[in-house]
């Protein structure tokens, strides 16, 4: 199981980093989303991997899994969700304003008028 989880985090991170380094805003957003998936799985495994163990008090349990990483992941998911929504709106705004979805700023645009 360790191998599968570690492999999943690795592949997600690699794909995420590759996409973040693209020049267009859509792949960059996908890349950041993949990175946030990777970090969520990674946070889960930071409490040690275990199956069939309850995270909260139970009469029948002999052992427990760590509940804290699960709370951390929940927080991280919510934040990543909100941030992705902001990013999508912002890149849409930038695209509509400049007819161009490049993430870098072309040289001729830098000297343009600003409001």
């Amino acid at each position: 199981m360790e191998l599968i989880v570690a492999g999943a985090v690795g592949v997600l991170t690699a794909a995420g980093v590759y996409l973040v380094l693209r020049l267009r805003s859509f792949p960059v957003i996908l890349g950041l989303t993949l990175l946030s998936y990777a970090v969520n799985v990674f946070l889960f495994s930071s409490g040690r991997l275990a199956t069939a163990l309850p995270p909260v008090l139970s009469k029948y349990a002999t052992d427990y899994s760590d509940p804290l990483p699960q709370a951390l992941v929940l927080t991280a998911i919510v934040i990543a969700f909100g941030m992705t929504a902001v990013l999508v709106m912002l890149s849409l705004g930038a695209f509509l304003e400049s007819d161009d979805d490049r993430v870098d700023i072309p040289g001729e645009d830098r000297m343009e008028e600003r409001p």
């Binding site: 990175l35 990674f42 941030m83 000297m111």
Partner: protein, 513 residues
């Protein structure tokens, strides 16, 4: 001491009211936002006076004892940073209301209060994951403020800013996961204890986490090689927002100071001297890059943004010393550079507003309406920024140079970089000032047409905001003695965290009953 949570709660309650109830009434929103910021400044002053006594005060959220619950911790350093932010916020909100910037888009005051809430929380929290959450709060508000007013250039620069910071946040989470996996805690005080007795097998992993955190905070503080977001963001943000962002890079500097003294104490077994060594190199390159940018740019706003980069580099050189003397110098420089940066951005904003079609391009244009006054204010800001006497920049740089005067072979390189960087900054500002204010007097003002509106003049409220900033700078200079005495106490607390740890973990044993 319930007052410790007030700087977080007050803006958190005020912002939704501003956003939902007062969204259509700018006068109401302004008065509430300004009143709230005045109250925050008063609370921050009270907190600083309390913290000056030297006691570390802890606020347990929900009365859960640390390390299980989240705590807010008030010591000299966090109190000083909260006060600095509150004072800066007050001046910026006055300027934003006076200059009419808050009307050029929606929800300026709500976003502004959320931004303050995030910054205060980041300074006060005693929990690393909570620090991440407050970072996100301040960032998501800053995304909104950055693109306030809209426009092509601003949206594109804002997009870059957001992407850079989202990547940084992801890295932050990776680092926190690694720390939790090796130590089993995320509380700063508890981490400080656990890392002292970490098994040798786990030390390497903890070192990886420390290095990752260094990169994350370097993104926030804008250090080479992750400083590229700063010039575009500051140069394209609305003037008052850029002035408020002056304290954002300081959040990174604060986090580095907190983490690499209290958690990873200098010379400990996990990190050794790694953070100081790496930071010194990063900061040296940052100073050089900022100086090159100041010389190379052809616009006024990017020129100030690049001079911010130089001052961030100088500040981080002092931080990277990781000695009590260097930390005192760094803390004084934080106060100075925040105020000087804000002053310059506010003045430049007025200049750009009056220049009309010439915008902030460094080229000859007809003289602006209040050429003399704004030239004098710009001159004062430039003197402070470049580190010339009589303003606080000179004292700040002197303290930094003095504190780094005996760092072995590095002294020559550090001194040379800071001094040459300052010289280049002076040249850059002198060139910009003479082109914008001086050469323009050679041209005649265009004859106003019969029914043309009069040339725009700076509103009195906006000017009084700038005046307040200048007064603060002068006060920083005049009160350098008491301030450094206070910062010596703050540095003492940082380099001997036993009080901090004891105060936070006072009720740690009660968890079992």
């Amino acid at each position: 001491m319930h007052w410790i949570i007030a700087p977080v709660i007050l803006p958190a309650l005020l912002a939704p009211i501003l956003a939902f109830v007062m969204r259509h009434d700018i006068v109401l929103a302004r008065s509430f936002s300004i009143a709230g910021t005045v109250a925050l400044a008063a609370i921050a002053t009270g907190l600083t006076i309390t913290a000056a006594g030297g006691e570390t005060l802890v606020y347990e959220l929900g009365n859960w004892p640390a390390p299980f619950g989240i705590v807010l911790v008030l010591d000299r350093l966090s109190a000083a940073m909260v006060l600095l932010t509150a004072v800066l916020g007050l001046v910026v909100v006055l300027y934003a209301a006076g200059s009419g910037w808050d009307r050029r888009g929606h929800h300026f005051h709500a976003l502004f209060q959320f931004q303050l809430m995030g910054i205060f929380g980041a300074f006060l929290t005693g929990d690393t994951f909570n620090l991440f959450v407050f970072f996100e709060v301040l960032l998501i508000a800053s995304y909104g403020l950055m693109i306030h007013g809209g426009g092509k250039a601003r949206l594109r620069a804002g997009l870059q800013y957001v992407i850079m910071n989202l990547a940084g946040s992801t890295l932050f989470l990776f680092a926190l996961g690694t720390i939790y996996a090796t130590t089993g805690t995320l509380n700063i005080a508890d981490l400080s204890l656990r890392l002292q007795e970490i098994p040798a097998d786990d030390a390497a992993l903890a070192r990886v986490a420390a290095a990752l955190l260094l990169v994350v905070f370097a993104v926030k503080a804008a250090l080479f090689p992750v400083q590229f977001w700063l010039s575009g963001t500051y140069a394209n943000a609305p003037g008052p927002v850029a002035a408020l962002f002056a304290v954002m890079t300081k959040v990174g500097a604060y986090a580095i100071l907190r983490f690499y003294t209290v958690i990873f104490a200098p010379g400990n077994e996990v990190t050794g001297t790694l953070p100081g060594d790496v930071l010194t190199v990063m900061a040296l390159v940052t100073v050089a890059l900022g100086a090159l940018g100041v010389l190379g740019t052809r616009r006024l706003m990017p020129l100030i943004a690049f001079s911010v980069l130089t001052s961030v580099g100088t500040l981080m050189l002092a931080v990277a010393g990781f000695t009590p003397e260097a930390t005192v110098a760094a803390l004084y420089y934080i106060v100075h550079s925040t105020l000087a940066t804000a002053l310059l951005f506010l003045v430049a904003d007025l200049v750009v507003a009056q220049r009309g079609p010439a915008q902030d391009r460094l080229e000859q244009a007809p003289p602006i309406a209040q050429n003399g006054l704004l030239a004098a204010l710009f001159f004062a800001g430039a003197i402070a920024m470049a580190g010339m006497p009589p303003l606080s920049g000179f004292l700040g740089k002197l303290l930094v140079l003095d504190a780094l005067g005996d760092s072995d072979g590095r002294t020559v390189v550090i001194w040379a970089t800071i001094l040459i960087g300052s010289l280049v900054t002076i040249v850059g500002f002198a060139r910009a000032g003479s082109v914008v204010f001086w050469k323009s007097t050679a041209l005649d003002r265009p004859e106003p047409e019969e029914d043309a509106p009069p040339a725009p003049r700076a509103p009195g409220t906006a000017l009084s905001g700038i005046g307040a900033m200048l007064v603060l700078l002068v006060a920083t200079t005049a009160l350098a003695g008491p301030m450094t005495a206070y910062f010596e106490g703050a540095a003492e607390q940082l380099y001997d965290p036993s009080d901090y740890v004891r105060a936070v973990l006072a009720r740690a044993g009660e968890g079992g009953e």
